[in-house]
């Protein structure tokens, strides 16, 4: 047992050291290869990429909201609930390229096609996140509102909405971060205003300085979006605790 516990300790320490070592080496090599002159051009692409992704997420929002509300409303009916959740999970696990292939077959091309396909990719992420956000509203508060004579719509507006508003924005930011990093479907559709796609093209062409500049901006923006989302979620939990 003593030998085994030593082996497990060495395995855990070795794995952690390897992970940190690889991260440090990769980050320093990326920093060395970074072409600072490429940053302004990549920053412009980042802005257009964020605009495209935001448009896609916002256009998917009404449908995702409806799906999340329908799942929340039918929460007590086990069959509806499990079928809806299964459908969402399956939809989320489909490779994004497959959605791009469907879009390509239906004639989606260019910026408009990219907008539609990115909306469809964002849809399950949004619906799943919003369902979770609505589910976090306390059942005790819901029951109190119903006991006071509120209708289901009033419970939604006056109880569920306010208690899950920060979670709602966190879900939007996470979906935006997810859509920002999508490359494969856009490769088929030929959307030019995507930073992730530009990183792919630059790396494929061997211009690693440009690719590293774009990758750095992409990582920073995704990390900022996730950081803000995590802050919002934590803030909600703290408010709930007090």
């Amino acid at each position: 047992m003593r030998v085994l516990s030593r082996l497990v300790t060495m395995w855990a320490w070795g794995s952690a050291s390897l992970t940190l070592g690889v991260l440090v080496v990769a980050a320093s090599l990326l920093f060395v290869r970074l072409d600072l002159e490429a940053l302004p051009a990549m920053a412009e692409l980042l802005l257009s990429s964020v605009a495209l992704s935001a448009a896609a997420v916002l256009s998917a929002l009404p449908v995702a909201l409806a799906i999340a509300l329908a799942l929340d409303r039918h929460a007590r009916r086990a069959w509806h609930q499990s079928a809806g959740q299964r459908w969402l999970s399956a939809f989320r696990d489909i490779p994004p390229l497959l959605i791009g292939v469907i879009g390509w077959m239906l004639g989606a091309r260019g910026l408009f096609g990219a907008w539609i396909v990115l909306s469809i990719i964002a849809l399950p992420v949004l619906a799943h996140g919003l369902r979770g956000a609505f589910g976090r509203a306390r059942s005790r508060e819901r029951l109190s509102a119903i006991a006071l004579g509120a209708s289901t719509l009033q419970v939604l507006f006056y109880v569920v909405g306010p208690s899950s508003s920060a979670d709602f924005f966190a879900v939007l930011l996470r979906a935006l971060a997810r859509v920002l990093g999508v490359v494969a479907p856009l490769l088929l559709l030929g959307a030019l205003s995507s930073l992730a796609l530009e990183v792919f093209h630059e790396a494929a062409a061997g211009r690693m300085g440009f690719a590293v500049a774009g990758a750095t901006l992409l990582v920073l923006s995704v990390l900022v979006l996730h950081g803000v989302a995590a802050y919002l979620e934590r803030n909600v939990q703290l408010t709930g605790a007090t």
């Binding site: 300790t9 952690a16 696990d93 490779p95 390229l97 009033q154 490359v183 494969a184 088929l188 992409l218």
Partner: protein, 254 residues
Amino acid sequence: MMDRTSRPRRERWLWGLVDGISVGALGCAVVASLFLVGAAAFDALSTSFLGVATSVLGTLGLSTLALLVAAPVAIGTALWARWLAPVRLRPTFLWLISLLGDVPPVVWAVSALVVLQPKEGVEAYFLAVLALGAVAAPSIAARGLRVFETVSPSRMLAAYALGASQAEAVIGVVLPAVWRGLARAILVGFSRAFADTVIVLLLLGPLWIDAPVLPLRVVDPTLSELALPGALAAAVVWGLVALAISMLARRVLR
């Protein structure tokens, strides 16, 4: 508050709209899937099934090798961050692991190209294995951490009270209690590696265009278009296998 007399009617209308949109979205997804499967079946007639089957096996092999690299390191890192890391540094490492899972795959592919600079053939294949492992590892580690957090502290305290060291408590108490959750985390990482496209296109596309993997059968990376014929059949088979893996992860090991 709304007018009491008109409330039920308005609410029925609104909830009808909500249900209609959800059922409509489900219907659109079903119609799109049927359309794709039909087109793929038509497409499959003009291509060899052997080629698609070889690509499926090639991609499964690539993902399995990536998992063999990623899973021990990811589980070990999660174990260290949860039980063995210095207490003050623990939240920082937990935050770092969850953030790494959000890095887009194209960034891992560029990092792999910069760090290792591959040559043609098998070397590019193993570089793709490493990059796919880097994509799968953070998601395995993050899920592994969540699984470790489900172990009740009282169990650990009971093991300590019986004279076990921290490592002995982990071996004797934690690992037997969470092996199903860890297996599920590994399967989710596998499905993430299997569904990834960009790494294979970027690392194998220019260096080994004939590699038997699904992404190269669906997309021609040099022309940025569908690698017809047979692309649709390969895409549908790819989607079905990816769904089967993730369903296995969600259902069988629950």
